[in-house]
Each structure stands twice: as C-alpha cells, then as structure tokens.
C-alpha cells in the first residue's frame, strides 16, 4: 500500500541574474539556462497549487499561492505578463515524505504578491512549454526522400527550453500499410514551431508535459517502467465516471500520475473500466502546509480505449 502521509514539496523558481542572492540555489533541471539562480521554497512555508496537465495541443497550466515569503524573495519573484520573451523556469516537486517527483515543470507567465489579511500571498501563474509555444520558430527545408519522422524530430528539437519526447508510429507511418512515410518531394517549413508541428502530425497528437514534447496517437502511450496502480489502496476515491469516451476519477493527491503514460486501474465499484489505461489529463489541486489542514486531490482522465501501444522515450 502506497504511503500517503506527510505531504511535502519543493518549489523552484528561477530569477533574473540581477536579483541573485546568496540564499538562492543553482539550476535544477537540464533545460534551465545558466543565466539565473533559483529560489527554493519548501516547508514550513505553505503552498496552494492548482495544476492541470493534459494531452491537448494547448499548454498545461499551473497556479501557485505561497504564503509569507520574505520581502527579498517576493520582489525577486515578481514577473510581468508582458515579459513573454523572458524565460523563467518553475519546477514543482511534491509528494509524501522524501518521495517528491516532479509534478509540474514549466515557465512563469505572471507573478505578483499581495497582502491578504495577515498573510502575504505570492501568486505564480505558469504554463508548461509556454515560452516555446510563444517563441519557437521553425524555418527549415528538407530534401526529397526525407523521412517524416526526421522532420517531426527536427521540429520538436526547435522548441526552446523543451526537449523532444516520444513519437508514436502512427505519426510517421501510412495508415493503411504501416510503412514509414517518406516525403517524395522536398519540403519547407516556416513560422511558429507549434503551428508547424500541428501541420505535421494528426489532430490532437502533440502535447508538452513537464517541458518534454510528445506526439502520440489516441491509443499510444509512453512506455516507462511499470504502470502505476490506481486502486482503493493507492487512494482511488469514488467510482470512475464515463462521459462520452472519457472516463474520469478522483484520488488522494497522486504525484506520480503522469499524462501520456499508462496506469493500471482497478476499481471495485466501476470494474467495467478496469485495465491498462492511458492517462490523458491530470488535475492536482490542494494545499501543502505545516500550519493548516486541507485537501490535496488528483482528478485524472483517460480515454476509454483498449489495445494500447507502448512507445519508448528517445
């Protein structure tokens, strides 16, 4: 049985070089540039979070409310909405005890602090891959006979501060024969990278999660280790609900649930949905605090497909 006691978190927020301070730490992930230090926020400071990650072509989002940061850190975090050309990474690791996987990784879009009653609240709004969506440019040409897979990989590689991830076979093979598609003529691409990627892969296949860009078909999932178990022992709440072709369920905050990956669902009250499922959306919201009690819930969603195909990360 998974332990779900002792919520814990670490929130890393990248700062501009001019706001560097000895209390700040260095980069925390390979995709972060070395031009800015990080503020590390952790317990006993309280944090409220609302994170939505989804396998849609729009950005995943995160919103954090941190209680009572120091004035120095509040000023260092402040970020204008119009600074879309500046990349400031935010990494949120959360979980239980020492098990705190990355729950969100993206860039800040706006941050400010206000006083609410006796507390100073610092609010940080983030997008996963938002900087890449806004600033990625793909200007390239390919000679004839270039495999479609190479073009997709090249486009994903041109996303700034986002790494290429899994690309499902259905993205680059012909539907009827399954043969890798080769561009018979030369091809050229110009403009916003995401716009071009959406022209390269089928609708709904491209998404960015934790600053990794994936292209997966409806029944393709990222194969990585053992699928996480979702059952009453791991915190499943209530009965999974089917709406159209999507099934959603609640569980006690589960930081290891990742979109695009498979999960093994075992519900006692909704056993017709049981099986290996590809998680298509995850919403975490709650509070982690040493001072006050509060809920932390994960709502997840999967498409009701069978015959999943596993795709390895590069």
């Amino acid at each position: 049985m998974a332990e779900k006691f002792g919520r814990n978190y670490t929130l890393y927020v990248q700062m501009a070089p001019e706001t560097a301070s000895p209390s700040f730490v260095g980069p925390v992930s390979p995709s972060a540039p070395n031009n800015g230090p990080f503020i590390r926020i952790e317990l006993p400071l309280s944090v409220e979070f609302d994170i939505t990650r989804k396998t849609l072509s729009s950005n995943s989002t995160a919103s954090f409310r941190i209680y009572n940061l120091s004035l120095e850190k509040r000023n260092a975090i402040r970020f204008n909405f119009s600074n879309y050309g500046t990349y400031r990474q935010v990494v949120f690791k959360a979980g239980y005890g020492t098990n705190t996987p990355v729950v969100f990784q993206g860039n800040m879009t706006q941050a400010w602090s206000v006083r609410e009653g006796v507390n100073f609240i610092t609010q940080i709004e983030c997008l996963d891959g938002g900087f890449a969506f806004r600033n990625g440019q793909f200007n390239n040409q390919f000679v004839q006979k270039t495999p479609q897979l190479s073009i997709i990989q090249s486009a994903l590689s041109s996303l700034p501060h986002v790494s290429p991830g899994a690309i499902g076979p259905s993205m680059y093979t012909t539907a009827d024969s399954g043969i890798p598609y080769i561009n018979l003529s030369g091809a050229s691409y110009s403009g916003n990278t995401v716009t071009n990627i959406l022209d390269l892969v089928p609708k709904g296949a491209f998404f960015v999660d934790r600053e990794i860009a994936h292209c997966l078909g409806e029944n393709e999932y990222i194969k990585s280790g053992n699928a996480i178990n979702i059952n009453s022992a791991s915190g499943l709440l209530g009965t999974p609900v089917l709406e159209e072709t999507l099934v959603h369920f609640d569980m006690i905050f589960e930081p290891s649930l990742n979109i695009g990956y498979a999960a093994q669902l075992t519900s006692i009250t909704g056993d017709n949905f049981n099986g290996l499922r590809k998680i298509t959306a995850v919403k975490h919201r709650g509070i982690i605090s040493d001072a006050v009690c509060g809920e932390a819930i994960t709502t997840a969603e999967f498409a009701y497909f069978n015959n999943l195909v596993g795709v390895s990360l590069p």
């Binding site: 200007n139 390239n140 390919f142 004839q144 598609y181 003529s185 091809a187 050229s188 403009g191 022209d199």
Partner: protein, 223 residues
C-alpha cells in the same frame, strides 16, 4: 452605511473585440497565401524549381541590455521542388527558358499536394498540413521595378526573347529583331525580283521579265 468599493481590480480588461482583432492579425500573419520569390534553380526534366522568398520575416526578441523588444530579421527557408506552372492545354504548351534570378510568384496550395504531384491523383493527403511552405507552386513572370520590360508594346500580343519578337495585333503580325523586320526583308526581296533582268544567250534578243502584276503586298499581313 457606505458602499464597499472593491479594490485591486484590473482597470481595463480587454474586450472580446480586442481579442478577435488580435486573433485576426495572428491568423493572417501565419497564413501562407502568396509570396514573391526568386528562382534559384530550375529542373527542366521535372519542371520544378527551387526558390527563395524576396523578403525576410521579423521576429521580436527581448534584449536584456536595453530591457526592450527588438526586431530581428530572419530569412524564410528555401522552397524546394516547387512545381512550376507551364502554360498549355491539350498537347500544346508555351515554355520559357526559366533561369536563376527570375522573379516569381509562389502560391501555396491549401493541402498537401505530394501524392498528387508524384502521380497518385485522388489519394488521401499524405500529411495534415495546410497552406504549407512545402506546397508551393511557382508562377514565373512577376517583375519588380528593377526588372521591368523595356519598350512594352501596348498594342500587340508579343512573344519576345531579348532582341527577337513576334507581335500579333488585331489584323497583322510583326516579326522583328533589333535590326530589321520580316516585312522589310520580304519587301526588299520583292523589289529585287521586280528589278531582275535576264540577259538572253548570244545571237538572241533581250529577254524582258515582266514584273509580277499585281505586285505581292506582304504589308497586308506583315508589319
């Protein structure tokens, strides 16, 4: 009792019209419809061309030093294997010696035309791309002010190549180069024929050649 006035609100929220205006601009900026380009290479076997776009894109990048956004020109990618529109119909065609440096109009097809171009008409499109740079069609003949034709003939339909030309007006045809016209050549030939004198063999009289009557008048056809 005083009315509570809410504080800390954003004074002016963008309206739906502001959003739609921005959306419209973004849509038109990212839509490839036509571009003006220059031919860099022409493949006579496939009648395809490689072309470059004659202007650059403008991106805005944040400059940490000046704390402001600055425009940065970025070249468009090279357009490769673009089918060239060759005028024609049935078994007839009108071809031109397309060469590097020719200005052209690049038209972007709505859908992926790869399967059609490679001989599979009626097939599904190979990729979901729309108005893509990979689906350019080239029409040669567009001219900027620096490359305009000199002595543009506004009264005839003219086929010309450097100094040679064939012009068709409503009732006559003009064939000429920079030194003469076909009409002048034929008129000179007729004059020479009319002045032709043939001397009879010894012992005989003078053989007179009668001019063609009526004299041919190529001026009725040629100019």
């Amino acid at each position: 009792m005083t009315t509570l006035i809410r504080q800390g609100q954003v004074p002016v929220e963008p309206s739906m019209k502001d959003l739609l205006d921005l959306f419209r601009t973004d849509l038109l900026q990212t839509l490839n419809c036509h571009h003006v380009g220059t031919v860099q290479d022409f493949n006579t076997e496939h009648q395809t061309a490689t072309a470059t776009i004659n202007y650059s894109q403008t991106f805005f990048q944040y400059n940490q030093g000046s704390q402001s956004y600055q425009s940065v020109p970025v070249s468009y990618p090279i357009l490769v294997d673009c089918p060239v529109i060759v005028l024609g119909g049935g078994s007839a065609s009108l071809t031109f010696p397309i060469a590097k440096g020719d200005e052209c109009l690049v038209l972007f097809n709505d859908r992926d035309m790869n399967n059609w171009f490679n001989g599979t008409p009626g097939a599904q499109v190979a990729t979901p791309r729309l108005h893509s740079f990979s689906d350019g069609l080239i029409l040669v003949g567009l001219r900027s002010l620096g490359n305009v034709l000199s002595d543009y003939d506004s009264s005839r339909a003219v086929l010309r190549n450097a100094d040679a030309m064939v012009g068709v007006s409503s009732s006559k045809i003009k064939i000429a180069n920079d030194t003469t016209t076909l009409l002048a050549v034929i008129n000179g030939l007729i004059t020479a024929i009319n002045a032709l004198v043939i001397t009879a063999p010894p012992g005989g009289g003078i053989c007179t050649v009668t001019p063609i009557s009526p004299s041919p008048s190529p001026g009725g056809l040629l100019e």
